[in-house]
Each structure stands twice: as structure tokens, then as C-alpha cells.
Symmetry: D2
Amino acid sequence: MYSYSNTLRVRYAETDQMGYVYYGNYAQYYEVARVECLRSMGLSYKMFEDMGIMMPVISLNSKYLKPAKYDDLLTITTSIKELPGVRIHFFYDIYNAEGILLNQGETTLVCINMQTNRPCGSPQILLDNLKSFFDPS
Amino acid sequence: MYSYSNTLRVRYAETDQMGYVYYGNYAQYYEVARVECLRSMGLSYKMFEDMGIMMPVISLNSKYLKPAKYDDLLTITTSIKELPGVRIHFFYDIYNAEGILLNQGETTLVCINMQTNRPCGSPQILLDNLKSFFDPS
Amino acid sequence: MYSYSNTLRVRYAETDQMGYVYYGNYAQYYEVARVECLRSMGLSYKMFEDMGIMMPVISLNSKYLKPAKYDDLLTITTSIKELPGVRIHFFYDIYNAEGILLNQGETTLVCINMQTNRPCGSPQILLDNLKSFFDPS
Amino acid sequence: MYSYSNTLRVRYAETDQMGYVYYGNYAQYYEVARVECLRSMGLSYKMFEDMGIMMPVISLNSKYLKPAKYDDLLTITTSIKELPGVRIHFFYDIYNAEGILLNQGETTLVCINMQTNRPCGSPQILLDNLKSFFDPS
């Protein structure tokens, strides 16, 4: 398993009149988190697109346990629990500054060859980076 | 079961550089759809908040089957499949103008008494409106 | 001068914890309004991009007179006050259902040839459509 | 004059199908920047709301000089050029990692007493903090 945590400050724009972060904005938090997770390995999603592979999200699940609020400094822990293939699964846990778990999410991305517009395997450089975290040898 | 369909035009703001609607924006489409579903019964979410009941989302699931694109005129069919209690489940199917199913979603909302900040039953006026669609008598 | 009015319902996502529409969301309202203004002439922004002309915004001015609120049914009047050249100016007035002016905005777009990535004249079809509203003859 | 610079990474969500940051998203960047500008003085906007003063934006001007792009690490310099009264003016310059100026903005906020819902003077603690940067003595 590979895990990485980043922090993120809640913007006023992201709140709604309930005084909570709008439920639709967590998907952006997940995006930031998985991109920083990749960056922690020296990779970037931009690099993948420049290599001709895009990774649209094909499924999203979120559980809203407690509301995140304006100006909260959130910590998001992103986990990759299995070596990716055509699909990559990311898991997210979002905590506030007191360490309280606010939200849990899960996204599945699929690798698409941008030239053929068809599914393809994960970028080799991603697999190479992840292997040591999964390989028993 | 109660179902209602509304249409919605994809905004440029909602696309991303993949040329697709950003995956996080479907949650807004679901919000618009369930609010229009309520309005089709003569109700409004605003009315519920004015009555002292707010309904935060506690879970969200989305499946992205095919991308929605800029300026697409989407049709969203919202369904309530069971009489709500403390929780209300909404199901969404999003189609493009050609009738192709692009996205399926599901949200669970919980009724909160805004004075006590505790869960409460669904507004009676919502139950009264829905009953005829579920009651066998 | 050419003017067109469209209506738009405020989404919950667009409010912030002040209970107002977040100031950054009016730019989306302007986008929707100018696109509907074009559509009223039988044109669409999508058509322009398909023709190889994109129109990024190069300046934006907004005055927030009174707050728009959740579920408000806004009317946006978009005006083109002069025949466009390389640049197109749009003016916006946003009213609530009581006819109260809430917001005034102004955007300047520049026409870019997507192949050369350089400024170019407005699409001829836009000029042809607008001419009768400006031509004294 | 008081100036402060913060950095901010462009999210995928913030791009549009032109491959640029959507013009409406700069308002969020300005919000983040002015909040970090306040935080650099040991203040926070949240603190002001907790004190009963909210500060809605009453005017916004933006000039889009060059496009910001996905994953760009932007530097935003926020300036307060005069001591605030009922109104507070913030000026913003946004640079990319190469130091190229991409965007210039300006917002005016008005201080509102949340109990009376009427304009009021700037929070004393803000004036106290700013005074040394403006006072000739």
C-alpha cells in the first residue's frame, strides 16, 4: 500500500449557506489529494497527459461523516491499496485540524490512450514507482 | 416510486481541459435535479429550510459511463423509490440529447432540525405529497 | 444595440456561508447569459469553436449592488452595444424576480484563431446577424 | 502599503476545455490571496465574521493578460494601498513560476455589521495592524 497526506485550506467559495463545505466540492479535494500523492513519488498527472494518457474518473463514492467548515485546515490521506492496471483506485480520508475524520471517499480512474481514445495500461513509470510498496521481493 | 425529469445545459465553466464535464460537477447537477423534482410536487428545498429543516447530503455515489460535453442539453431523471424517513434517497440518470445514458448517481440526505441540530423526520408536507405514489390503497 | 434576456435559477452550490451567491459565481452567470444571447440569434459559442475560433475573456468588471440568494429566479439582460471586431463587449444586468437590479457586469472577449493562436476578426456569421441591429440603413 | 505573496497550485477542476483556467475562477484565487494576506498579519477573515463583521465584495475588476494553466504554481501578490475605512481595497498580481504576469485584479469589500446588517468601519484590529505600514511617523 502507498499512502500520502497533504493539507488543504477550505475556501469561502467552497462553503454553502448551511455554513458547511458544499458536498460537491469534496471531489476537488480528492483531485488535489491524488495529484499530490502522485507528486510525492516524483510524478504528476500533467506528465501523464503530456505522455498521451488521460485518466478520467469512472466512479466516485463519498461518505460525509461530519461537516468541514470555512478556513478549516484539512489533512487528506490518499491511499493506493493495489497495483493499478487499466484502472486505478484511490481512497481518501479527510481529517480536520483536531484529527476528527470528516469524510471518506473513493475514486476509480481509467487510463485512456489519448490518440486511440481507448483504455490502456497504467503508465510504466507509475508502476515502477509503486512496485516497491507492493512487491514482497 | 416518484420520478421527475428536468433539463440542464452544460456550462463552459463546468468543462475541464479533457473537454468533458469535470467529474465533481455532477453533484451540482444532482442538486438541481432533486430540487426540481421537489418543485414538481409544489415543494422547494428553500421551503424546508424556512421551516427549520435542513438536509445535508451524507452519501454520494456516481458512475461516469460516458462524458457529458460543453453545451450538451442534458435530461436528468430523478427518482424517489421509497417513502423517506429521517433519510431521503434520490437516484439520478443523466442522458444527453440523443438519449444516451451518461451518468448514474445516488445521494442520501438526512433531515436535520436546525434548532436542535439533530436528525428529525422528513417534512410532513413532503410525505403527504409522496404518499399517493407509494400507498397501495 | 442587441439585447436578450434569459432566466437562471440560483443553485445551492453557488451560495456561500454568508447566505449570498458567492461573488465569483457571477462570471458563470455572465457566461450562460452571453451564450443564450448568441443562441437567440441562432448562433452558439460551440459553433465558433468548431469553426476554429475561440473567445477567451480578457477583462471582467462586476458591481455587486444587492445579494442574489438561494433559489432566486434571476433574469439576466445581455447587451451588445457596438459591432464586434477582434474584441466583443458584452454588458449584463441581473435582476431578481421582483425586478430589483442586483448586479451589473461587463466582459471583453477576444477572438483567437485556434490554428495560429493569434487574434482574428469576429466570425462573419455573428457580424451578419448583428448588422441589422446596428446598421442605420 | 502592505503587500504579501502566497502560492497556489492550479487544480484540474479549475481548467476549462480551452485548456486555460476558467475566467471565473480567478475570483477564488483573489479570495485565497486576501485571506492569506490577512493571515500574514495574524488575522483571519473567519475572526472578523466571529466578531460580527462580514465583508461582502461590492466590486471586482480583472484583466486576463496570459492564461494560467493546469498544475501551474501561481504566486499571487496582494496589496493594500490605503488604510481601509468602511471599504477595503485589495489589489492582486498573479504570476506563474517563470515570473510572467498572468492576471491583475482588484476587489472592493464593504464592512457590514452582521447584527444591524448595515455598513460599519473596518475592524480595529485590522487598522492597528496596518497602521505601521502607512503611518509616516
